[in-house]
Point group: C2
Chain length 112, copies 2
């Protein structure tokens, strides 16, 4: 019953998955699923537009390739993309630290 709702952190995930080399969309979905222990099972309608957007703003470049009759579009980080990965990782760290900080002062008693 899990999977959706990425909440603004999709770009970070895509950049992270592409950080160790060029990949095409379909395999990016598979890797995100595998690396997250099935938590992120993203529909194609989510990742393709996101990849296009990241390319448009210059964080990725793409290239068409034909692998035994099937066409694939492989994406690769640009230099700016790699910079953005580091930056967004920092932002994520701050964000999750802040959430943790609010939660740690919460009261967990079942009655109050």
């Amino acid at each position: 019953m899990r999977g959706q709702a990425l909440k603004g952190h999709l770009d970070l995930l895509l950049l992270a998955v592409l950080s160790d080399g060029a990949k095409h969309g379909y395999v990016i979905i598979d890797e995100l699923k595998a690396r997250s222990d099935e938590q992120f099972d993203l529909p194609e309608g989510t990742i393709y537009p996101a990849l296009h957007r990241l390319e448009k703003v210059g964080l990725l470049t793409s290239e068409w390739a034909a692998v035994n009759g099937r066409r694939r579009r492989t994406y690769r980080l640009t230099k700016r993309g790699r910079g953005a990965l580091g930056e967004q990782r920092r932002v994520w760290q701050e964000f999750s630290d802040a959430i943790a900080s609010v939660l740690k002062e919460a009261t967990w008693a079942t009655s109050l």
Copy 2:
């Protein structure tokens, strides 16, 4: 340059802040700011509608009070609200673990 973009985790924060007793909207904003080390500085237009929504779905109840001429609406967790807090905390944990899991396999080299 910081502050916005809660990305679907606002409910968790509101429930957490209310976990140790009833509070009104304005002071919830202050507490979120303080507990998060200034990270979450939320506009009123974000939190008031969110409180109304949480009340509508039965996670909060509200009560009007007059404190020296000023009217206040104080919110309190319902039993279901306390349950939802635990549940959403669990979801947050899974979510942030999954992000961390994807990130830890990323390559951080500046050239590749």
